[in-house]
C-alpha cells in the first residue's frame, strides 16, 4: 500500500491548502490543525516550511501504545483508525516519535491515513503517494 510523503517541502509556499483539505475532506473539520498533515514554519517564514505528518512506521509505535485497538497496524506503514474504539487517552500522540498526531480540544486524535486527498490541493507538487522504499523494513536493516 502506498503512503503519503512530503518529499519536496523545499517548494512549499505555506498556503496550508493541504491541511485545510485534509481537515475538510477526511476529518470533517474546518481547521489547519485537526488534520493528518500540518504545516509549520521552521523559525520564521524566511527559513521555509516543514510538514508534520505520519511517516508510516512499521511497526507503528502509536498502534502498539493504543490500549483499545482504535489504532492498528496498516499494511505498508502507518495505522488503520477506528474512531469508535477511541477513548481519547492520548497514548498514541505520546508514542509518536515525530509528533504527527494532533489531539484536539477534547483529546480526539487526528492522524494521516495515507489516503492522498491532500495531494491535488498542493500547488507546488510537494506531496506524493508512493510505495515505501523496498529496503525499509523492521529494524531499519535489510534482510541479508
Amino acid at each position: 500500500m502506498k503512503i503519503l510523503r512530503a518529499s519536496r517541502m523545499d517548494r512549499c509556499i505555506g498556503c496550508h491548502s493541504c491541511s485545510l483539505a485534509c481537515a475538510r475532506q477526511v476529518h470533517k473539520k474546518f481547521s489547519w490543525n485537526a488534520a493528518g498533515i500540518r504545516i509549520k514554519s521552521s523559525g520564521g517564514i524566511t527559513t521555509g516550511f516543514e510538514a508534520s505528518l505520519c511517516l508510516g512506521c512499521e511497526p507503528a509505535p502509536c498502534a502498539a501504545a493504543c490500549p483499545t485497538g482504535a489504532y492498528s497496524q496498516r499494511k505498508g506503514g502507518g495505522v488503520l483508525v477506528k474512531m469508535k474504539l477511541c477513548i481519547r487517552c492520548g497514548k498514541c500522540a505520546d508514542a509518536c516519535p515525530v509528533d504527527a498526531i494532533y489531539l484536539d480540544e477534547v483529546g480526539e486524535p487526528h492522524v494521516c491515513i495515507h489516503c492522498g486527498q491532500c495531494v491535488p490541493f498542493c500547488p507546488h507538487d510537494c506531496l506524493e503517494l508512493r510505495e515505501k522504499q523496498e529496503h525499509v523494513c523492521v529494524g531499519g536493516t535489510c534482510d541479508v
Binding site: I13, G14, C15, H16, S17, L20, A23, R24, Q25, K28, K29, F30, S31, W32, N33, A34, R38, I39, K40, S41, G43, G44, I45, T46, G48, F49, D104, E105, F121, C122, P123, H124
Partner: protein, 588 residues
C-alpha cells in the same frame, strides 16, 4: 451570541484587559471593510486627533474568510496620521486565518499601554507582555524576538510588528505582517506606535465545525473554487512574474513613473523588470495562508561585506509597487540595488510607496536647490542607492527636522521647503502608474487614495472617449464591487474568479442565503458607510489637488488634458459627497 453577529475581541491596553463582544449583523455589514467601518462608527472619535488614546485600531475579517481560497485578507480601520481622517489598509500573510481560528472576526486595540508591550490574542489566551526592551528594534529583530517570546502555534499564528518609523510616528509607518506582507499605506504603524504596541501576535489555535447546512456540498464547492483559482490565467499572471511583470508593459506605454515622474519611459527599466528579477534574483515564492496562488516573490540579496569573498544573504520580497517606488522613481535601475533598498524599507517599517516617492521629491528638491545638504545630510542623487539606504534610516528614525517633516508626507515637506509642483502626491504619495488623467483624478480623491480603490489605471490603458460622467460612474460602481470583495474579505487578485454568481453560491454554502440574495444592497450600504466615516472625520474632496508635475506627463495617449481631469474631479467630488451623505434620522 446570535449566529449572525460578529465575535469581536476588544483589548483595553490601558487596563491590561480584554472584553469579548457580540457585534453587528453579518447580513448587513458582511465583514472586513464593512465591519471595520461599523466598529469605527461605534468606537471611533471622529473629532479627536488620530493619536488620541481612545481611538480604535481595528483589524477585521469577513464572513467568507478562510472558508474559500483567496479569502485571505484582513482590513485595518483607523484614524490615519497621514490626513487625520478615517482610513483603511489591507494585508494578508497568515493573519486572516489566524484570526478565524482564534475565533474573532475583529480585534480592536483601544487605549494606550503604559509602557511598550506585545499583545497576544488566541482562542484561549489574551496576554499583554512588557516589550519595552524591543523599543527601537527594527522589524526583523522584533519578529525574531517575538517568535521566541511567545512559543507555540508555529505556522498557525501571525506576528504583526512595527519598526522605528512606527515609534517615531511617521505618517506613513506600516505594520509588518509575517515578514513579507504589510498594512502598508496611511500610517497604521504609527497608530500601533502611539498606543505603545510593538507587536501583536494572533494564534489560530482552535478547530471548528465545517460551515453551513450541508458540509458535503460546501466541500464540493470548495474544490470547484480551488480548481477555478489554480486553472485560470490569474495563476499565471500572479504566479509567474507576478506584478513585476507590469514594469516593461508600463514602460512601453510611457506610464512608468521614473525619477520623480520626470520621465515615464526609459530603456534602462529593463534592469528592474520582472523578467530581470525572476532570472537573476528570484529564489522562492510564498503565499498567504489559504491561497494556493502564492504571489509573493522573494529575491535573494547577496552582498559582499568583506574582502576574501565574505558574503551575507537576505531574503527580500518584491512586487511592482516596490520596484516602482525605490527603483524607477529613484532612478535605481539595478535590480540588486533596488532589492537592497526594499530590505531597508522593511527594517524601518515605512510604507515603501510613500518612502520612495518622498525621497524622489527630496532628490529633485536638492538638485533644484530648494533644500540643501544641511537638510538631507547625504547627497541624494537619482540612481545612487547607497545614499538612499542612509536616507531611509534617517526617515525611519526621524533623524533631523527635515526627515521628521518628510516622514509626515512629501507634500508636508514641500509646503514647508518649497517644490509643491513636483511633489508626486495624489491624496498620498502616488502609486506606480502614470497612466493618465483618469487614474490621477481617481487616486487623488478616492477612499484609500490607493491604486486598488478602482481599476482606473486600467481604464487609462485602454482607449476611452474622455467622458467624465462615464469615468465617475465607473469609479463608483467599480468601488462598490471591490467593497463587496474587501468585506468578505477576498484578495483583489481573485476578482476575476469571484463573480457575483459564485459569491452567492459560496455565501449559501456557509449558511448565509439572505446575504447571498442581498449582497448588492449590502455592498452599497457598506460603500456609503465607509464614505460617511471618512466625511465625519473631516474629508473635503474638493480640497484635494493634483500637482503640476502630473500634468507634464506624456503617455502613449499623448499629453494630459487639464479640462478632462478637472471635469472628472469635480464630478467625482459630487459623487463622493452623495456617497458620504449623512443618514437621515430614522433611516439608519
Amino acid at each position: 451570541m446570535s449566529e449572525h453577529t460578529f465575535r469581536v475581541c476588544i483589548v483595553h491596553l490601558d487596563e491590561g484587559k480584554a472584553e469579548i463582544v457580540s457585534f453587528g449583523d453579518r447580513n448587513r455589514l458582511i465583514g472586513g471593510s464593512g465591519l471595520a467601518a461599523a466598529l469605527f462608527e461605534k468606537y471611533g472619535l471622529p473629532l479627536e486627533p488620530w493619536s488620541h488614546p481612545d481611538q480604535p485600531l481595528i483589524f477585521a475579517i469577513g464572513c467568507l474568510t478562510g472558508y474559500f481560497p483567496l479569502m485571505s485578507k484582513v482590513v485595518a480601520g483607523f484614524k490615519s496620521p497621514y490626513h487625520d481622517q478615517y482610513a483603511e489598509s489591507h494585508a494578508g500573510g497568515r493573519l486572516a486565518l489566524s484570526m478565524r481560528f482564534a475565533g474573532f472576526e475583529a480585534i480592536v486595540l483601544r487605549g494606550r499601554a503604559r509602557v511598550p508591550v506585545a499583545v497576544h490574542v488566541g482562542s484561549r489566551a489574551i496576554e499583554i507582555k512588557d516589550a519595552n526592551y524591543l523599543w527601537g528594534a527594527n522589524v526583523f529583530t522584533t519578529g525574531r524576538v517575538i517568535r521566541r517570546a511567545f512559543s507555540g502555534s508555529s505556522g498557525h499564528r501571525s506576528i504583526l510588528r512595527i519598526g522605528p518609523a512606527g515609534e517615531t510616528l511617521s505618517a506613513y509607518a506600516c505594520i509588518n505582517v509575517d515578514t513579507f506582507r504589510h498594512f502598508g499605506r496611511l500610517g497604521s504603524g504609527s497608530v500601533m506606535g502611539v498606543k505603545n504596541v510593538k507587536a501583536l501576535v494572533v494564534s489560530g489555535d482552535s478547530d471548528m465545525e465545517l460551515p453551513g447546512p450541508d458540509p458535503k456540498a460546501y466541500a464540493k464547492l470548495f474544490q470547484k473554487v480551488h480548481q477555478d483559482m489554480t486553472a485560470t490565467e490569474m495563476m499565471s499572471k500572479y504566479h509567474n512574474l507576478g506584478t513585476p511583470g507590469n514594469v516593461i508593459p508600463l514602460n512601453e506605454l510611457s506610464s512608468l513613473p521614473i525619477r520623480n515622474l520626470q520621465q515615464t519611459r526609459d530603456p534602462d527599466a529593463v534592469g528592474i523588470s520582472g523578467e530581470k528579477f525572476a532570472e537573476d534574483l528570484l529564489i522562492r515564492n510564498a503565499a498567504c495562508a489559504g491561497c494556493p496562488v502564492g504571489c509573493i516573490h522573494v529575491g535573494m540579496l547577496r552582498e559582499q561585506f568583506q574582502d576574501e569573498h565574505r558574503f551575507q544573504i537576505r531574503q527580500v520580497s518584491y512586487d511592482h509597487e516596490l520596484i516602482f517606488a525605490v527603483g524607477a522613481m529613484l532612478g535605481v535601475m539595478n535590480a540588486s540595488h533596488a532589492l537592497a533598498l526594499m530590505d531597508e524599507v522593511e527594517k524601518q517599517g515605512v510604507d515603501v510607496m510613500s518612502a520612495g516617492v518622498a525621497l524622489a521629491w527630496a532628490t529633485e528638491a536638492l538638485q533644484k536647490g530648494v533644500i540643501s545638504l544641511e537638510e538631507t545630510e547625504y547627497p541624494l542623487a537619482f540612481g545612487d542607492h547607497k545614499n538612499y539606504l542612509e536616507a531611509l534610516w534617517c526617515l525611519g528614525h526621524g533623524k533631523n527636522e527635515f526627515y521628521r517633516t518628510l516622514a509626515q508626507g512629501a507634500m508636508v515637506a514641500a509646503k514647508k521647503y518649497g517644490g509643491e509642483d513636483f511633489a508626486c502626491v495624489l491624496g498620498q504619495e502616488m502609486a506606480g502608474y502614470a497612466s493618465g488623467e483618469t487614474f490621477f483624478a481617481n487616486q487623488s480623491m478616492s477612499f484609500r487614495h490607493s491604486h486598488l480603490d478602482t481599476g482606473s489605471y486600467g481604464y487609462d490603458q485602454k482607449k476611452h472617449d474622455k467622458d467624465a460622467a462615464k469615468a465617475v460612474a465607473f469609479f463608483v460602481e467599480d468601488e462598490r464591487e471591490r467593497v463587496l470583495l474587501t468585506s468578505l474579505v477576498s484578495c483583489l487578485f481573485a476578482r476575476g474568479v469571484y463573480k457575483k454568481g459564485l459569491l452567492a453560491e459560496c455565501l449559501v454554502s456557509v449558511g448565509l442565503p439572505d446575504l447571498a440574495a442581498s449582497m448588492d444592497k449590502a455592498a452599497d450600504e457598506m460603500q456609503r458607510l465607509r464614505w460617511r466615516m471618512r466625511m465625519a472625520t473631516g474629508y473635503e474632496p474638493e480640497k484635494t489637488t493634483v500637482p503640476k508635475r502630473f500634468m507634464e506627463v506624456e503617455t502613449w495617449a499623448g499629453k494630459m488634458d487639464q479640462a478632462y481631469l478637472d471635469d472628472v474631479r469635480s464630478r467625482y467630488a459630487v459623487a463622493i459627497r452623495d456617497l458620504g451623505r449623512p443618514v437621515e434620522p430614522g433611516k439608519g
